[in-house]
Each structure stands twice: as structure tokens, then as C-alpha cells.
């Protein structure tokens, strides 16, 4: 009850509002925005990452980052992907939890002792991973600081939403990094109906085309995803948010 009331007052009190009307239009604006945001929350580094699901494992595509290039090389994209899209990642509206490299829980399998030390040495003693929803695209941002307890968790939660808003303005810039949708409208439609459990014949009736045409659309979709069958093509499409 007590904490509930405290929450209310926190929302009721007019907090310092930020500068109005930030408009992003270019990649330079995006890096500028992220640098400023990292600064606001007390972080030294940021990394904006899109996760692509390829051949049963996740890979990271870095959209923007101020990490040292060497650090990225040393740590590796695979580890970055598992940090960005891992058990400590906070969705909007949930409380973010830090990964503290000094006493990282190596048993969880997220980091090996060596990797934790490496991150620490490279200036990522405390690391937060946040999920960003930009329309149906999903990205991740890592904020880190060289010392622990420097990042303000309350500011972090707001920064997360602010990031979502800002990235929404430049979604076409992100599209290149995020998963591409290789399907044509018809192929997507066919896959959607198949994922709803419809048979080829039923899809043919729904779309008003012949069963052979439906099969050819689905075959094309399977090829485009380099999947081995329908189930895998559908799984890939769902995982990447296409259907």
C-alpha cells in the first residue's frame, strides 16, 4: 500500500521535462542522439544491435555503437548477440537488471569467466541490455559504464522509451540492418494461411487461385528462407516477425 502511494506521487510530480521536438533524420542524428542519451543516464558506451536468426543461432548486426572497434572484435558478435538478446534483457515496462562483469554469474552460461574479465578490462564493468520495439521491428541497445552503479536505473527506463520513439522516426534506416522480408505479398499471405493450419487446397479457395499456384508460392518462400520444409519456413517467418 505504502509503495503504491509513493508510486502515485512519483507520477503526479512534474518531473523535469526535456527539450522539445527532437527530429531525427540521418544516421548522424542517430549517433548524436544515442551519445547524448548515454550521457544522460551516466553510461560510457552504447551499442544498438539488431538480432538476426540464422541457421539456428542468433547473430548480431551492429547498427550504431561507440565501442572500440577492437573490443567488438575481441568479444565477438556471437557473444554480443547473446548479451543483447539474453536473459537479462529488459522489455519496455520491466525493470532493467545490470550485468556486473566483476561478479557475473558464470554458471548461468551467459558469460565465461574469461569473457567477463575481458568486458571488464575493456570498460564494460556494468552492462544493461534493453529491448526496443520500433513498430514491429525489434532492436536491442546495450548501455555500459566503466564503473558499477554509475547508470541510473530510473533514467534508464525512460531512456528506453525515448529510444523507441527516436528510432521510430528513422525506421527506414534500421530496416537495412534488421531482418529483411524477402517475401512477396502473395507469398506472405500463403505462408500466413498455412501457419493457421490451412491446407494447400483451402488456401487456394481463400485466395481464389489454383492449388498449384499456392504450392509454387510456398515453394518460393521456402527457397527464399533456405528452409528445408514448410514448418521451418513458417518458423523462420514467425521468428523474424514477418507473419
Amino acid at each position: 500500500m505504502d509503495s503504491g502511494l509513493k508510486t502515485m506521487t512519483a507520477f503526479a510530480a512534474p518531473l523535469t521535462s526535456d527539450a522539445v521536438g527532437i527530429r531525427l533524420s540521418s544516421r548522424a542524428d542517430l549517433t548524436g542522439f544515442l551519445t547524448q542519451l548515454a550521457d544522460e543516464i551516466g553510461a560510457d558506451s552504447y551499442m544498438l544491435v539488431a538480432i538476426v536468426h540464422e541457421q539456428e543461432r542468433n547473430d548480431a548486426r551492429i547498427v550504431a555503437s561507440n565501442w572500440l572497434y577492437d573490443a567488438i572484435e575481441l568479444i565477438g558478435k556471437r557473444l554480443i548477440a547473446s548479451l543483447a538478446h539474453g536473459p537479462l534483457t529488459a522489455a519496455p515496462g520491466t525493470r532493467a537488471q545490470p550485468l556486473v562483469t566483476a561478479h557475473a554469474d558464470t554458471a548461468s552460461g551467459l558469460l565465461s569467466g574469461e569473457e567477463a574479465r575481458l568486458l571488464d578490462v575493456l570498460g564494460h564493468a556494468e552492462l544493461y541490455s534493453l529491448r526496443l520495439d520500433v513498430g514491429r521491428q525489434r532492436l536491442f541497445v546495450l548501455f555500459s559504464a566503466a564503473e558499477t552503479d554509475r547508470i541510473d536505473p530510473a533514467a534508464l527506463n525512460r531512456a528506453q522509451l525515448k529510444c523507441c520513439y527516436a528510432l521510430s522516426q528513422v525506421s527506414q534506416l534500421l530496416a537495412a540492418a534488421a531482418v529483411q522480408d524477402p517475401l512477396s505479398d502473395r507469398e506472405r499471405e500463403c505462408l500466413f494461411w498455412v501457419s493457421e493450419g490451412k491446407t494447400t487446397e483451402e488456401v487456394a479457395v481463400i485466395l481464389g487461385v489454383s492449388a498449384n499456384t499456392v504450392n509454387s508460392y510456398i515453394t518460393h518462400a521456402i527457397q527464399k528462407f533456405s528452409a528445408s520444409n514448410r514448418a521451418m519456413a513458417i518458423a523462420t517467418a514467425i521468428r523474424s516477425g514477418i507473419i
Binding site: M1, S3, G4, L5, K6, T7, M8, A10, F11, A12, P14, L15, T16, S17, D18, A19, V20, G21, I22, A91, P92, G93, T94, R95, D133, V134, G135, R136, R138, A154, N157, R158, Q160, L161, K162, C164, Y165, A166, L167, S168, Q169, S171, E189, F192, W193, V194, S195, E196, G197, A227, S228, N229, R230, A231, M232, I234, A235, I238, R239, I243
Partner: protein, 255 residues
């Protein structure tokens, strides 16, 4: 209902899982949330911004044209007038917006002087066509863990929302929607728990393996592997294994 009463009720419903930021900590407890709980929680948000009415919508995934599907509104268990009056072109516009952007949108009725007052000055929040003609309101696009997408809408000419409160309210909408998205697919028979083996078989099917390959990988007979897949399809109320895979992925039973 007074604010204190509302907060007490909400505290009771969400107990220790709520945190000052309005989100949840912990996972499995989420499933205990019911629609009336969610309505209460939404009412609590509405009170904090002095909104008169609210509504929660899902953007139904459809092949051609996605559309808004009302989940509940401030008149729960019945349906509010506002929800019935969501205009089609405006609904379509906001659905398009929700699929591309997470920026909140506000609208007002120009015939009323001074309407939308507090909403005009918000950073990041842009104006759009009224979702319901003749109202003032704000819509927050929201996304759940397993890709469901939706909209939390608040109506009221005297809404108070300023500066950082937008982020906080939006974050609470996200967490609310995530809780609702987890209960809604429950209608499709989630009550019947899936066994570990069934999930393993489904996951391998999603990764493109055939029954024969699954049988070899899991050291089962082909018949048993098929049996597991048939059972999982039944439990998920799916007509075939492809749909079972799709449903399991959308429900987050496998990833």
C-alpha cells in the same frame, strides 16, 4: 472509486510483483492475472492521467489488412460506446502506424475550444486523425514479448500528461499489454501443459527436421516422435503440425 482505494485494489491484485515502475518482476506469476485484474490496472493508469475512459486493442495479425480488435475497455464487461465507434479509416491509419512506429499519437475534436490542451505540448507525441470522432484522446502502441502488437487508448478532454510522465505511462501500458497478451491466447487450451518431450519435438520440427530425423536425434522410434507431435497439436488445438509449430512459437512455448 477513490485513488487510494484503486491503488489498494491494484496492490492486492498484483501484490509483490508490481514494482514502482509499474512493471512486473518475475515470470510465471503473470499467468495468474485475469482480464478483470488487467481492467483494474488500466483504470489505475487512467486515473493517474485523469482520463475518463480507456480501451485496450490488439492488432490482429492478418495476411492482407491488419485490424484493431477490442480486448476490453472502461465499461468492461460490456463494451463502451467509444469502442463501437472507432472509425474504420482512422483505425486503419493507426494500425499502420503501430506496425511501423512506437511513438504515441494524440487527437482532439477541433469544435471544442482548448481541447487536447496538455497533449499539444508533449515531446515525441504527434497528432493524428481522431480514432473516435468527437473525442480527445491519446493512443500508445504496445508490443508483447512474443510479437503481439496492440494499442492502449485513453480518452478525456481534461487529461493531464506532461514531460517524463509520457515515458512512465507508456512503460506501464507495455507491461499491462504484456500481461494481457499472455492470458489471451490461454483460450486455446493452454490449460493442458505440454510435456518436455512434446516441446522438444515441436522445436525440432520448427528447425526443419522430419519425424525420422527427430526420432534419431531423440533416440525414439518414428512412431513415438509422431505420437508426441500429434499430442502437441491436440493440446494446442491445432489442425496439423505446421499450425502447432506456429502456435507454439506465437505463445512462446518454444523459441
Amino acid at each position: 472509486m477513490t485513488r487510494a482505494h484503486a491503488s489498494a485494489t491494484a496492490e492486492h491484485a498484483f501484490g509483490s510483483h508490481s514494482n514502482p515502475f509499474g512493471g512486473f518482476v518475475g515470470g510465471s506469476e503473470l499467468q495468474a492475472v485475469t482480464i478483470p485484474d488487467a481492467v483494474r490496472r488500466c483504470r489505475w493508469i487512467a486515473m493517474d492521467i485523469n482520463a475518463e475512459a480507456f480501451g485496450l486493442f490488439f492488432v490482429a495479425p492478418a495476411a492482407e489488412r491488419a485490424r484493431l480488435v477490442a480486448c476490453f475497455d472502461s465499461d468492461y464487461p460490456s463494451v463502451a460506446q467509444a469502442t463501437r465507434m472507432v472509425s474504420d479509416p482512422a483505425g486503419e491509419e493507426i494500425v499502420q502506424h503501430t506496425r511501423q512506429s512506437t511513438g504515441p499519437r494524440w487527437w482532439c475534436d477541433d469544435s471544442q475550444a482548448e481541447s487536447g490542451g496538455a497533449l499539444r505540448d508533449l515531446t515525441w507525441v504527434e497528432r493524428t486523425t481522431p480514432l473516435v470522432p468527437g473525442t480527445t484522446g491519446i493512443a500508445f502502441p504496445v508490443h508483447a514479448d512474443h510479437g503481439q502488437c496492440g494499442l492502449v487508448v485513453f480518452f478525456g478532454a481534461a487529461m493531464t500528461l506532461s514531460g517524463n510522465a509520457v515515458y512512465d505511462i507508456h512503460a506501464r501500458c507495455f507491461s499491462l499489454f504484456n500481461a494481457v497478451a499472455r492470458i489471451r491466447p490461454g483460450e486455446t487450451g493452454r490449460a493442458r501443459a505440454m510435456s518436455k518431450r512434446e516441446l522438444e519435438c515441436l522445436k525440432l520440427t520448427a528447425n526443419g527436421y522430419t519425424s525420422e530425423e527427430i526420432a534419431r536425434l531423440l533416440k525414439l522410434s518414428v512412431h513415438t516422435a509422431n505420437q508426441y507431435l500429434t499430442q502437441s497439436a491436440q493440446k494446442l488445438d491445432a489442425v496439423n503440425r505446421t499450425q502447432a509449430v506456429a502456435k507454439a512459437l506465437r505463445l512462446g512455448l518454444i523459441d
